[in-house]
């Protein structure tokens, strides 16, 4: 009833290709941003901000980055965590060597370094395809983790090989409480999400999708494969690097290279596939699923059983329920949560009078 586009005519290509072509979508987007920027900070407590929303947003950004590569450009990567590590360690090192640098510049530098490394490890994608390509990114994963563990220069010679983020100040405000951290991460993530969304509907984005669908055909119609694939690696790794810097600076504060291990890479890949490949909202939905569901199950488990069953049993049941949920969602809707969301919207168009 409310979600209907009848009467909204597009009179130019430009309008037809807008980010949010439907009026109601625009309202929904504004409402959601208002909700995130105003309502949540008003009502959420520190626990929610610091240990659920901030990590959720940081990992969503990493998932967004991977979605550029895997979802839009069709290149599988199992090295996301390594690119995050590059971002974290590069930002840290820039700030340690030159303390005057504002942290946002350090973040950008982290992202750029990650982009460089990503392009380097993306080079084999010109020759290797499909699951075989995963090996290049896995090589990145293990090599970079090893590099940061073994060369003390990267951790500024800290005895135990951890890095501790310097304090952050922005325009005189210290970013040290959960609320300010939330605002910082949210702003960065929102900017990046719009950036990706825009990129995806540009010439570059269309080239990525052509390469994803069939790269030989794409090459035949004049798309420069090298440029397109490497650009995807670069943009994706940039976002992952940024997410890594956020993870180190904002979420944990103190990080060892093992925080960016292969398990993290897999986790982010799961977010992208479960959320929905090739969609911005999918990255957020997937991250929400992967982060919130285990915590929810953990809480529910202790709440329902009230201590009558051993915590160990609950933990194992959580694993099973989590796995079953993934399979269930796939059978219901194989194209991820984002697709479910889209179907919901289609239904909403006809509501309350479906034919």
């Amino acid at each position: 009833m409310f979600y209907r586009e009848a009467g909204q005519f597009k009179t130019s290509y430009k309008k037809d290709q807008a980010i949010l072509p439907i009026f109601q979508d625009k309202i929904a987007m504004v409402a959601m941003l208002l909700f995130c920027f105003i309502v949540i900070p008003l009502f959420a407590n520190d626990y929610w901000l610091a240990s659920i929303l901030v990590p959720f947003l940081a990992l969503s950004l990493a998932a967004l980055g991977l979605n550029v590569l895997t979802g839009y450009a069709g290149q599988i990567s199992l090295g996301t965590a390594a690119f995050m590590a590059v971002g974290a360690f590069a930002s840290f090192n820039l700030q340690v060597r030159i303390p005057e640098i504002p942290f946002l510049v350090a973040f950008l530098w982290g992202g750029l370094c990650a982009a460089g490394v990503g392009i380097l490890f993306g080079l084999p994608s010109l020759r290797i395809k499909g699951f075989y390509l995963a090996v290049a990114t896995l090589a990145a994963q293990f090599f970079i983790e090893w590099l940061f563990t073994h060369f003390d220069w990267f951790t500024n010679y800290s005895t135990s090989g951890v890095i501790t983020a310097p304090p952050m100040t922005l325009l005189g405000f210290a970013i040290d409480n959960p609320l300010s951290k939330y605002f910082l991460v949210l702003s960065i993530v929102v900017i990046c999400a719009f950036f990706v969304r825009n990129l995806a509907r540009s010439e570059i984005g269309r080239a990525w999708m052509a390469v994803r669908d069939m790269d030989i055909a794409a090459e035949a119609i004049g798309i420069n494969l090298m440029k397109t694939k490497l650009l995807a690696f670069g943009v994706s790794s940039f976002l992952c690097g940024l997410a890594g810097a956020l993870w180190a600076y904002v979420v944990l504060g103190t990080v060892e290279p093992q925080a960016f291990d292969i398990a993290r890479s897999f986790e982010i890949l799961f977010m992208v596939v479960i959320g929905g490949l090739g969609s911005v909202s999918g990255a957020f939905l997937g991250a929400g699923f992967m982060i919130l569901l285990p915590i929810l199950l953990n809480n529910l488990g202790s709440l329902i059983t009230g201590g009558t069953i051993s915590t160990e049993t609950i933990a194992h049941i959580e694993y099973m329920v989590f796995g079953a949920f993934i399979i269930f969602f796939l059978i219901v809707e194989p194209n991820g949560l984002a697709r479910l969301w889209q179907i919901g919207k289609e239904k909403l168009r006809l509501w309350p009078f479906p034919y």
Partner: protein, 296 residues
């Protein structure tokens, strides 16, 4: 240079490599028959090994325990086909891959819920510390037996794929689900066959690794060791898994011993991947992989 020592590292590497191949085989079988990268293979190794060791602890004789575990793995395969694969026929491969992620969590939870999450000692009655002494080099007997088991398994499986009707049907299914269905190949039965076989291979890998490491949760992570093996050998080749294992095992051991010292050691984790990358640059489908032919 100490040549005896070199020999020991070399042979030790080859034998380690065969242990990786055992795990890689499970991946190859499922990939070959359904084009799915089965993320749950590690969990299946854990489940099979735990089942086996708990049955042994209940006092069931070893052969009977192997038999019962095999039956359980077949039941698991049937359940997977019924509940997970059947509703997902003809979906994208990435979606089947995702389903195996869910399966991985489920089996890991189930294995530890049904049995438990302690360390279990698995004693096969083979002395693990006995070695053949060749000159000044020690070649561990246990590793040699494990390698023989793996070699035998590979031989049987390659023959099976090459010469039996089911084997050929498997290859047809791998090429195209729908085309295979249309020429009358029973897809469901084939999937049950292949997942059962993968389950049994998982049991063998579980027994060998379990007696080396003790049966515990950590053995599910041997799957990570299998990935470079798969890539070098090719996802679709059974003998490739063995050859890939040999290359990876001996490459990483030689690298760790002779190069590791120069860069601070512990390079075993990434070296196989760099090696695999090098192989792929020359042959993008792995050494034994089927040639990828692309048409527009």
């Amino acid at each position: 240079m100490d040549w005896w020592f070199f020999l020991e590292v070399f042979v030790g590497g080859l034998l380690s490599g065969v242990m990786y191949s055992l795990v890689a085989l499970g991946f190859v079988l499922i990939f070959k028959a359904s084009g799915v990268f089965n993320f749950a293979q590690g969990a299946m190794v854990l489940f099979a090994a735990l089942t086996f060791v708990r049955l042994l602890e209940m006092g069931i004789p070893m052969l009977a325990a192997i038999g019962v575990t095999m039956v359980i793995m077949v039941i698991l395969a049937i359940a997977i086909e019924r509940i997970v694969l059947r509703p997902l026929v003809n979906q994208d491969l990435i979606i089947l891959f995702m389903a195996t992620i869910g399966l991985n969590y489920f089996i890991e939870g189930m294995a530890q819920l049904v049995w438990d999450s302690k360390v279990h000692v698995l004693d096969l009655g083979i002395d693990e510390y006995d070695a053949f002494e060749i000159g000044e080099a020690f070649i561990n007997k246990f590793d040699v037996y494990a390698a023989l088991i793996a070699g035998g398994l590979v031989l049987v499986l390659s023959l099976f794929f090459r010469y039996t009707v089911i084997g050929r049907a498997l290859r047809a299914v791998a090429d195209d689900h729908q085309a295979a269905l249309s020429v009358g190949i029973p897809l469901r039965t084939i999937w049950i066959y292949v997942w059962s076989t993968a389950g049994i291979v998982a049991l063998v890998a579980g027994i060998v690794w379990g007696s080396k490491l003790g049966v515990q949760f950590a053995i599910s992570s041997v799957a990570l060791k299998a990935i470079p093996v798969l890539i070098i050998g090719g996802f679709t080749s059974v003998p490739g898994a063995i050859l890939g294992g040999l290359i990876v095992g001996c490459g990483e051991k030689l690298a760790e011993v002779y190069l590791g010292g120069f860069v601070g050691g512990a390079i075993e984790n990434w070296f196989p991947y760099m090696l695999a990358l090098l192989v792929l640059m020359i042959r993008p489908e792995g050494i034994f992989g089927e040639k990828i032919i692309e048409r527009v």
